[in-house]
């Protein structure tokens, strides 16, 4: 292990995900920091299971093998909460019982334990997505675009090793979608994060600009 060459980016080595006798995904890939791997497939093809496998929350009905390594750390050895695999879903999923600021502060790593410092980091992260002065707000009072930006700020302050995007733009309206795409990809680039994007929208893939892995509903073979 110690003699291995440490690759900077995310390495997916021999990933296979099975549902019974049916192989949904077979994939090996490298994703460099600030680059995007897009996984395309129609709904029902099981493309989200790849993200679930990487994040460590794959439903036990699926069987999976393969290694996910980043900066020499094999994520599959780690508990989900130790993987630091940041994720954005279709819905922003802001915690409805917390203020906007508390939502973001919740994600600040545990190593920063001073409350005032956590609040400051959260406020700064909100300012980064142009939501200054939103910390005290009730998430339910935000617009769809604002919620999406809070979710982005939240995942970024958690200091993730990589970013998993599960069709995060599909519920936004057209104008907002383009805005969010560029914001998310810019932020991921600035943070030097490897990104895996799962989508069925060609425009998402083009905007991401990276390698594309296509799967179809039936076999999910490599192209």
């Amino acid at each position: 292990m110690t003699n291995d060459i440490i690759v900077a980016g995310l390495v997916l080595a021999g990933i296979e995900i099975w549902l019974g006798d049916h192989r949904l995904i077979a994939l090996s890939a490298e994703v460099q920091p600030s680059r995007v791997l897009t996984v395309m497939g129609p709904s029902g093809s099981g493309k989200s299971t790849l993200l679930a496998f990487i994040g460590g929350f794959l439903d036990p009905v699926f069987k999976a093998r393969g290694d996910v390594t980043i900066e020499g750390v094999n994520l599959t050895d780690l508990a989900p909460e130790s993987r630091r695999a940041g994720i954005l879903f279709q819905d922003p999923l802001l915690f409805p019982h917390m203020s906007v600021g508390a939502n973001v502060a919740f994600a600040v790593p545990a190593t920063i334990s001073r409350r005032s410092e956590r609040v400051r980091i959260a406020a700064h992260a909100l300012a980064e997505v142009e939501l200054d002065d939103f910390a005290a707000r009730d998430p339910a009072t935000l617009s769809g675009g604002q919620k999406a930006r809070v979710a982005l700020a939240r995942v970024l302050v958690s200091q993730p090793r990589l970013l998993l995007l599960d069709e995060p733009f599909s519920k936004l309206d057209m104008a907002l979608r383009q805005q969010m795409r560029s914001l998310v990809f810019t932020k991921a680039q600035d943070a030097g994060l490897p990104v895996i994007l799962v989508t069925h929208d060609e425009a998402d893939a083009q905007s991401a600009g990276g390698e594309i892995y296509r799967m179809d509903a039936v076999s999910g073979q490599e192209p």
Binding site: G55, V61, D77, E81, L93, P96, F106, P109, A110, R154
Partner: protein, 574 residues
């Protein structure tokens, strides 16, 4: 070798250990008291109870039991009132849902039906008695027209056929079955099926019964069995409204159990086993009735009977539910008025004056029963909530649900007649010389509170969007932290409601309290039922009302506190 962060490792271990222990404890609570209780009843029934000099195994006590005067009449009463209560409650619930599920009528009546669940059986029975007794309110209303100046000589409420008792049970079981069915409704395709049935020319009631009811019934089946078991072995309602000579089997058992002559306990044990047989017989008969009704429904469906003009069925179903609601609420109103009544002679519609005397006199004796009621309720319910959350967390962790067998396990204490196994527990507690009666009381309440708390909380827990859990973990939070900071706060309302349900169940417990308390522990409910034979309507008013108020206050707190806690969070409001 897994590389876990230390704090997250601890956080996840704590939750895993808690969840696993909760499962073990819950299964133990649902099965052990039941099994030991049954054993504790069966052995004395067969003559074995060394503490009272019983060493020889035999059927002698069953012989004595069957020689008791009127024993078969008692058995018949229990069987008939159990089956008729269940049949009427299920029929009304089915027809009402068939007629109105998905309509505004149902939504409006739902607000009135739900609170009925929180009213203890005894309080509902007292209210009914004040309404329909010979000097009750209905006859007072009729008196001027019928020319009555004194109460007619009618054997109501304690009519020999147990009709009044059955009526009171129906009043309480309709809301229960209604709410259980309502929880099952999202599992079936209501709107689409209704449209489909209508487009093919079926009346709404027939369409619902053909397409949806079988699916709903499959989900509520155990709740129906619980109703059957309860109503065929109920004690408090039977004491208040049931026949006297002879009484139902369960009321006679209670007399024998409380007999100062300890040797009567052998007889009582044999009787308790007979009660188990009666309830089992009722369940078997019901099982056949299920099949017959299922066949009949299929036969009607296969012949294409559409029953398009079902207005009369709709009106009948709505009337039944409205009458049930009105009866219970007017009963409560009568309890209230009686508790403040001064002189109130027949056939006056209102008392001559109002007074605080009854309350003042009662309050001086209320303190201890009230404290016992509250503390037994709060402690047993808190434990139940804690265990339930652990079990549900285990479900989340493994991604597997218990399925039908786990559900049956949950319903086991509700499908077994209370009197059969709680009496055995009482014998065991005495036999073991354990004197910590209050702890025993809490434990026995817990056996009945736990299933209701679980049933109440599990839907909300399972419907919780699991992506919030995923997010919390992806943001680096341990399971403990995710549970405490995300899932439990987001489920505050459901948890509080489950608590209120459990508390109401505990407050309503009569038989377990009497048996385990052995007359030395009083709660509001045991005091109220003890007053029934005295017939002092003013005092009954006070206790019946208190019995109702306690769960209502807890339900009110359960809805207000989460609303206050999250008053600035719109998505947390209902």
């Amino acid at each position: 070798m897994r590389k876990w962060g230390l704090s997250s490792f601890i956080g996840s271990r704590v939750v895993a250990v808690y969840a696993r222990s909760a499962i073990v404890l819950t299964v133990a609570l649902l099965t052990l008291p039941l099994s030991f209780g049954l054993l504790g009843t069966l052995l004395p029934a067969l003559g074995y109870l060394p503490a009272l000099g019983g060493h020889d195994i035999g059927l002698e006590h069953f012989g004595r039991l069957l020689a008791m005067p009127g024993i078969w009449a008692s058995v018949w009463l229990s069987l008939a009132s159990g089956l008729s209560t269940t049949a009427i409650s299920v029929a009304v619930t089915a027809l009402f849902l068939a007629a109105f599920a998905g309509t505004s009528v149902l939504r409006r009546l739902q607000h009135w039906l739900s609170p009925l669940l929180a009213i203890p059986h005894a309080a509902a029975a007292f209210g009914l008695a004040l309404l329909i007794a010979p000097s009750g309110y209905l006859i007072r209303l009729a008196a001027p027209f019928a020319g009555l100046d004194r109460p007619p000589d009618l054997l109501i409420p304690h009519d020999p056929f147990g009709i009044t008792m059955t009526a009171a049970l129906v009043l309480k079981e309709i809301p229960f079955l209604f709410l259980v069915s309502l929880a099952a409704l999202p599992q079936v395709e209501l709107v689409a099926s209704r449209r489909l049935a209508a487009s093919l020319g079926y009346g709404p009631v027939a369409g619902f019964l053909y397409l949806l009811w079988p699916g709903i019934y499959r989900q509520i089946r155990f709740a129906v069995y619980a109703v059957l078991a309860y109503s065929s072995s109920v004690v408090d309602v039977a004491l208040i409204l049931g026949p006297n000579l002879p009484g139902t089997l369960a009321t006679r058992l209670l007399q024998w159990m409380n007999d100062p002559d300890l040797s009567t306990r052998f007889l009582a044990s044999a009787g308790a086993i007979l009660q188990l047989g009666v309830t089992a017989t009722a369940l078997v008969l019901w099982y056949f009735a299920e099949r017959v009704c299922g066949r009949a429904l299929t036969a009607l469906r296969d012949r294409g009977h559409r029953f398009p003009g079902d207005r009369s069925v709709k009106i009948a179903a709505a009337s039944a539910v409205i009458v049930a609601i009105a009866t219970v609420f007017s009963g409560l109103a009568l309890l209230l008025v009686w508790s403040f009544a001064g002189l109130w002679t027949f056939p006056d519609l209102l008392p001559k004056g109002l007074t605080l005397r009854t309350w003042q006199a009662a309050l001086s004796q209320l303190a201890m029963p009230l404290i016992t009621t509250l503390s037994a309720g709060v402690i047993s319910t808190l434990i139940a909530v804690f265990l339930t959350i652990g079990c549900l967390e285990r479900e989340t962790e493994t991604g597997k649900r218990g399925g039908q067998s786990a559900l049956l396990l949950l319903y086991l204490p509700l499908i077994t007649p209370q009197i059969t196994f709680v009496f055995g527990l009482q014998i065991l507690f005495i036999g073991s010389g354990s004197l910590d009666r209050f702890a025993a009381l809490v434990l026995v309440h817990l056996v009945f509170v736990l299933p209701y708390v679980f049933l109440s909380l599990s839907d909300a827990w399972r419907q919780f969007d699991i992506r919030y859990d995923v997010l919390a973990a992806a943001l680096g939070r341990s399971r403990l932290s995710a549970l405490l900071a995300v899932r439990l706060p987001m489920l505050t309302r459901a948890i509080f409601t489950a608590f209120a349900v459990g508390f109401a169940v505990s407050v309503g417990q009569y038989l377990p309290t009497v048996l385990i308390g052995e007359g030395r522990i009083q709660t509001i409910t045991t005091e109220a039922v003890a007053l029934a034979s005295g017939g002092n309507r003013r005092v009954i008013g006070v206790y019946g009302l208190l019995q109702t108020l306690l769960p209502f206050i807890v339900f009110a707190v359960a809805s207000i506190v989460p609303a206050l806690l999250y008053r600035n969070r719109r998505a947390m409001q209902v």
